[in-house]
Homo-oligomer: 61 residues x 6
């Protein structure tokens, strides 16, 4: 029952998430042997005021 | 200081979360021995466009 | 497809985890309406050198 | 590539998150040796109806 | 700076993880637009005594 | 009840984690207003065969 959590900047469309979920599920299935229907993919949308790299929020770049 | 994170499809009511938090805290307390007041439960609401099983978003089923 | 992640201090037995998984699944099923077989519970064991409350590691208390 | 996820009650301002991201990045850099620009900090805002301590949601206290 | 956390049953080889990391990074890059070198993939190995589906630990199936 | 999860490459010493836990708790307390004793810091050690950046495991660099 693999679980994949993908944290991305907010603003990805449903189509983008759909394509990622499909392909990630395929690769996890192919390499781990888990059946596709027990693989879960969850997207966590993160705002630019809630994500920092190098100590600086994206909103302040 | 056990921490329990519950990822659920969006749309559960406050009453549903309240009941789950109460019962999950009770069972973790009973079986782990941790005092109830140091047990944290966090709910993560996940939209139907952000959750996939078998490679397909819930919104597309 | 609810996913529940339980972070606990290392050292809980298989029996303790089994009882918690059973009861947590039951309560999430009862209050969220999700079928039991799509509910996943994952335990994350955390050592006393990797868990701090109030700024102090458990190992140093 | 250290990743730090900070779960906080909703309502912290951008300035508060900015200050925390800056200082957390600094301390992780100083003590782990990782370069600052590969350190990621993500904030997860949690509503008062989605966070429980001692089995009771914050909203019900 | 997308972050992908993959929770899998323990026992996947380095080669399996390497292939998954490569392909997941490729698909996240392709569909989110993030440069490949800022995409992080973390694997969390979960033992059969720490993973339950339908309320039953994998070890007890 | 802020919860901070820090994912780091395995191999940090107890002293390093202790210093990070102390300083992270201080900064979260200072900027969020939460009392120090309700702030939890959890370290997740990640092996070089379980962490990838740019699609390549650390072990293969």
């Amino acid at each position: 029952m693999p679980v994949v959590q993908v944290s991305l900047l907010s603003g990805r469309s449903k189509e983008q998430k759909s394509a990622m979920a499909d392909e990630i599920t395929e690769t996890v299935h192919k390499h781990s042997g888990a059946p596709k229907d027990v693989i879960t993919v969850i997207f966590q949308d993160v705002g630019t005021d809630s994500w920092a790299a190098g100590g600086t929020l994206f909103e302040d770049r």
